[in-house]
C-alpha cells in the first residue's frame, strides 16, 4: 500500500533556531506511526506544520499524493486530516455532546432557512448527528456525562473527549499529541485499546506519546526526533536497540520498559 501521509524534508526555524530540521517519513492507511523524542525535540512543532498551524520554511506535506503544505486547518479537516492537542483545545462552554456534534458538523449540510424554522428535515439531521455523537462518547466511555459542560470535567475525561471530537470528523488520518498524558493506568489502557481499534478500521494514526510502554506496544513504525532532527526510524524493536536513540532518549529506564513490553 502506498503512503497516505508523506512528509518530505520538513523543517521550520524560529528566530534562526531550527525547531524541526529536514524530517521525512510516511504513514500508510491503518498504520500507527509514533514520533518520539525528548522534551523540546520538535514533535508538537512537527504536528503544527502538518496540521496547517505553522508554515514550514522547507519541505512538503502530501496527503494521498496531493500537496497540502501550509493548507488552512479547516480545509485539511475537510480532506480528512484531524488532530488532538497536547494541552487540549475544546469548547469549554459547550456540553460534551455539543463538542462532538461540532466535530460532526462537516458531515451535515448547512441549510440556514430550514434550520431557522426547525423544519422536520433539519430536525432529523440534528437528531442523527446527536445519535452519532452519543455513540462516539460511548466509545470513549463519556456517554454518562454527555450533557455536562466540558469545563466541569476532569483532565483525563477531556483528553478522551478531544479524541471523540477528532473521530467525529471521520478522518482518514488522525494526529494524536500525547493522548495519554495526565491519564491514569486504566485510562491509558483504554486509550491504547481505542487507538488500536481506530487504526484497525483503516484510519492512519500519527502518535506522539511519552508512555514508552504504550508506544512500543501499538506502533508499527517509530520515528525518533532529537533537537529537531530525525535520528532513527524503524520497527519498535529496532529503534529500541539503536544506540543513538538510547543515548538521546530512552536511557536505561526506557529500555527496561521496552523489554518489559516485548515480553
Amino acid at each position: 500500500m502506498s503512503a497516505l501521509l508523506d512528509i518530505s524534508d520538513l523543517g521550520i526555524a524560529f528566530g534562526g533556531i531550527k525547531a524541526v530540521d529536514g524530517v521525512s517519513f510516511a504513514v500508510r492507511p491503518g498504520e500507527i506511526v509514533s514520533v518520539i523524542g525528548p522534551n523540546g525535540a520538535g514533535k508538537t512543532t512537527l504536528f503544527n506544520m502538518i496540521s496547517g498551524l505553522y508554515r514550514p520554511s522547507q519541505g512538503q506535506v502530501r496527503l494521498d499524493g496531493r500537496d497540502i503544505t501550509a493548507m488552512e486547518p479547516h480545509l485539511l479537516a475537510r480532506l480528512g486530516l484531524s488532530r488532538t492537542f497536547q494541552n487540549l483545545q475544546l469548547f469549554g462552554d459547550m456540553t460534551l455532546l455539543e463538542n462532538v456534534m461540532v466535530g460532526h458538523h462537516l458531515r451535515e449540510r448547512a441549510h440556514v432557512l430550514p434550520d431557522l424554522f426547525a423544519l422536520s428535515s433539519s430536525r432529523r439531521s440534528t437528531r442523527a448527528s446527536a445519535d452519532n455523537a452519543l455513540a462516539l462518547l460511548r466509545r470513549v466511555r463519556l456517554d454518562k456525562g454527555a450533557y455536562r459542560e466540558a469545563r466541569a470535567m476532569s483532565y483525563g475525561a477531556l483528553k478522551r473527549l478531544e479524541i471523540a471530537r477528532a473521530l467525529a470528523l471521520e478522518p482518514r488520518i488522525l494526529l494524536l499529541d500525547e493522548p495519554a498524558a495526565g491519564c491514569n493506568a486504566v485510562e491509558t489502557a483504554e486509550i491504547d485499546e481505542l487507538i488500536a481499534e481506530v487504526a484497525a478500521s483503516g484510519v492512519a494514526i500519527l502518535l506522539v506519546e511519552h508512555d514508552m510502554k504504550l508506544v512500543m506496544k501499538i506502533s508499527a513504525h517509530i520515528v525518533v526526533l532529537d533537537h529537531g532532527r530525525k535520528i532513527a526510524e524503524g520497527a519498535p524493536a529496532e529503534v529500541a536497540r539503536d544506540p543513538q536513540v538510547i543515548a538521546a532518549y530512552l536511557g536505561q529506564h526506557g529500555q527496561d520498559q521496552v523489554l518489559h513490553a516485548e515480553r
Partner: protein
Amino acid sequence: MSDLLQFLLSGLTVGAVYALLALGFTIIFNASGVVNFAQGEFVMLGGMATAFGIAAGLPVPLAALLAILGTAALGVALNALAIAPARGAPVVSLIIITIGAAIFLQGAAGLLFDKQIHRYPGFSGEAALRILGATILPQSLWVIAGATLTFALLWLFFSRTLTGKAVLATANNPLAASLVGINTRAIMALSFGLSAAIGAVAGLLVTPITMTAYNTGVALALSGFAAAMLGGLGSPLGALVGGLLLGVLEALTAGYVSSQYKDAVSFILIILVLTFLPQGLLGRKSTDRV
C-alpha cells in the same frame, strides 16, 4: 404615575437602540476579541443612507433595505481591509484600528453625504399615541418592535442553525473551531457584516425620532459600549439587558433630576457594576476557559 410611564417609554425606546448597539459590539467581540468602536458609525450610516434614499425618491422599504445592505457591505470591507490583515496583532492595536476606521467613516460620510442634520417622517405617521396619560410616537413602537425582532431572529440563528453554532464555536475557541473544519475567517467576515447590518437597522429606525448627521456615531458608540459592558461584553442577553437598563436609567435621571446629569448617572452605575461585577451583569468569567 403618568410621568413615570412617560419616562419608561422614552427610556425603552433609547434603550432598544443601545441594546442593538451593544449587540453589535458583542458579536464582533465574540468573533475576534476586538471592541469595534466603529459600531456607532454603522448606526449613523444606516440613518444617513436611508435619509438620502428617501430624499432621492425611493420608497421607504427599498431605501431601508439598501441602507442595511450597503452598511453590511462596509462592515465586511472594514474587516477585510483593516482588521483581517492585522490578524495576530495585539488586541489593543486592533481596537485602535477600529477607532481610526470610525474617524475615517465619519469623514467619508461628511464628504459623500453632507454635514447637515437629516431626518425623515416616522413610518406610521407623526401623531403621538396616548397610553394611560403618557404619549408615545408610533416610531418608538417601530424601534422597540424592530429591536425585539432582531434579537429574536438572532437568537434563532445562534441556537438553530449550523452557521450560528459555528459562530459560537469560533467565539469559544477559534483554534478548535478551525480544526473541526470551520472557516474562521469567513465567520469573522460574517460577524462584521451582521454587526454592521444590526447597527444600520438601529439607525434607520431611530432617525425619525433623534435625527442624524455625519458626526453622531462617536456618542452612539460610547453609549453602546457602556451598555455592552454593563450587561457583560460577549453576552447577547447581556446586550439586551444592559441596553434597556441604561436607556431607562438615563430617561429617569433626565426626568426626575436633570438631563445634565443623565450621562453622569449612567457612568456612575457602570463603574459600580464593574467594580463589584467585573464581568458585567450577565457576563461569564473568561478565566476558566478550558
